[in-house]
Amino acid sequence: MTKFIAKRILLSLATLFVILFILFLLLQFMPGSPFNDEKLTAAQQAVLMAKYGLDKPFFIRFWIYLQNVVLRGDFGISYAIKKDMLVSGIVIARLGTSVRIGLQALLLGVSLGVLFGVISGSKRNTWMDSMATVAAVIGVSIPSYVLALVLSFVLGYKFRIFSITYQVDQPLWSSILPTIALSFFVMAQTTRFLRTELIEVLASDYVKLVDAKGVARPKVILRHGLRNAMISVITILGPLTVNLMTGSLVVERVYGIPGIGSLLVEGIQVNDYNVIIMIAFVYSALYIFVNLIVDILYGVIDPRIRVAKGG
């Protein structure tokens, strides 16, 4: 297992290097420059490009950038959004909020999803099953930003239970609405997958055997059914995390959350290269990390699946 994890980590690092290179390369092809303001003359633009070293050849710039990233964790400075400030400082100040709300949504979504999945999978074709299925269909079809707007209108504006915008001094309370908005899709997907898988598992021979032995039904479902069915949930954790990241771009805007999603959008609009690179890099790293965890979890939950030989 240790060997397997070590190998995966090495592979992840190599992937991140390639990602950094591709990001750097892609931004070369982005039209315009960060200093493309109405009022700057061509001479001034040239001075600014030189000041930030943007006039040097591509590979030299990449080499310098790579060294700064690896040795100092320095992703360069912002050209437009926060002039001359370190991008790492800006991103780190916002990363915590984004990741926390994302994790809250994942936790809430998966918990509710497992609950509904177990209910509808084990009480198949009852009213509870129908309810859970309907909720799942709605959750999959409504985009998170629509839900975000509805929630802030009803709970924030009409009934004034929650704050409409995210408040830095009340980080938990004011993050409840965005958490719910983001978790809905996670909940729906988890419910759907778990239900299907649970029905299949509960119909299998080994569960019938346990049943025949006279083990209590709840125990059968949780111990034998759920544990096996959870594999399917873990499989979709990776894609769900990606969905949370992209969903957060809009949800952050609606609730005024100072997160990295909204920062990325802004960075792209104003050609703030280093901001774009660092956030895209962080997103990639998060995604790779989640996938690594998922692979490890496979092994923990189901010893039959061990990716590496002898792991």
Partner: protein, 537 residues
Amino acid sequence: MKHLKRLLLSLVVLVLAVGCAPAKEETEQVLRIAKDNDVSSLDTNVATDGLSFEVIKTFTEGLMEYDADGNIVPGVALDYEVSADGTVYTFNLRDDAKWSNGDPVTAADFVFSWRRLVDPALATEYSYMAEGIMIKNATAVIKGEKPLTELGVAALDATTFQVTLDAAVPYFIQLMTFPVFHPLNEAFVTAKGDAYAKSADALLSNGPWVVTEWTEGTKIRVEKNDTYWNADEISLDAIEFLIIKDYQTAALQFENGEVDMAKISADLVDRYKDEDFFETKKLGYTWYVAPNQLVAELQNENLRLALATSFDKSFITESILHDGSNVADYIVPIGLATGPDGKDFRDGAETFLSFDAAKALEYWNAAKAELGVETLTLELLVDDAADTKAVSEFLQTEWQTNLPGLTVTIQVQPKKNRLQLMRDGTYQLGLTRWGPDYADPFTYLGDLFQTGVNYNYGRFSDAEYDALVQSTAPGGALSTDAAARWAALHEAEAILLEQAGILPTWQSGEAMLVNPDVSGYEFHVVGQPSYRNVVKK
């Protein structure tokens, strides 16, 4: 099932434990303003965007300031003298102006700030303004050809600041209200080094308020500065700039009483336009279509005239934008500049290129005959913003309907790319705008449409126009004869528009929700809004 119940129970407990939102209690006067963008820098010399300047204005003060009616009144300066040829300004500073650390504000603080503005090592974007007002040696210093000490500024003594210009600049004094020319405390800036102006505690104030909180992507709070010389006249205890990018959210926050002022987008105007807290104001931006005269067909005057007069501008302002924008049959906007006669430049001035479908058709037929074509396809380049996209679709429809045989395609680009394409001259028709930096028609007529200037995207060129505008430029033949200069500027505008050198479209407005308990908010068409006289009941 026991596990499930426990899980459910713990979730309920978690939600309850987070608790109810504590109620806010308020005794001090705090103005809360929702902003749709964030500040990019609070460094006086480095900042470039509107919000940054607006915030900087709350905690710094320049030589001169605007009063409620838009007149220029003394700030840190008590008064000033101008030499007979208009090239040397000597400012006498008040001796009771202080920095928030107790230091006096001196002439040396202005010298330091102005030199820093043109320092090639800092390479500030707004250094061009020092060139624009023709400070002696500014251009050479910016290029690194002369040392900073050669810049035409001097501290004659602690309270006497002198500026030497290369030529008389008619709008010099009003630019002294502009934040990039505000003073900086050298000892403080030097001590902070690279960290200067990058956090709330790395800033010093000589204005009505001082920055006490700057939270990334969330808010900036300024609180009353007791060391400010005129602190007794300031009524607001604090101002909070809250970054809320979504207009819908900002409007809901306004309705909940969480913010006092919020800008809203066109789609929200219908919901609020009859409320007593709904306000619109005119901005100094004129939007226009620049026809690129590098494109052979667009060199045809009749074609440009046909394009300019064939769309109903009032539909754009009333049905698409409806935010207080108005039809622009001119280029120098209403409210931009007051002339020597004390009247606005537009007051009683001629208008041009009004919508007239019948006349447009005549121009179009003439153009087709001259060009020897029956059909023509043109491409319109626009920003990817919601309002400009909507306007471009309307223009497309109007042009294709009123000028039969014309096909217009639309190319949507992010603003920075759009600017690049227009600058390179690789476009046909481009919808663009200009934000004035100073209250003088020259910011439009001189900076935009002379032959060969940087922002003359459409490559408009007319010898008579160039000569007239040159005579009104700093150091030009008319630079000290205000009345004749004004007449020349009117004439230049006529030359530009009578041949449809550009196609004026609308003058921007802005729709806002403003708490009726707030009074004394001063908005200026050029320059930053002022909160000095704001009172919140």
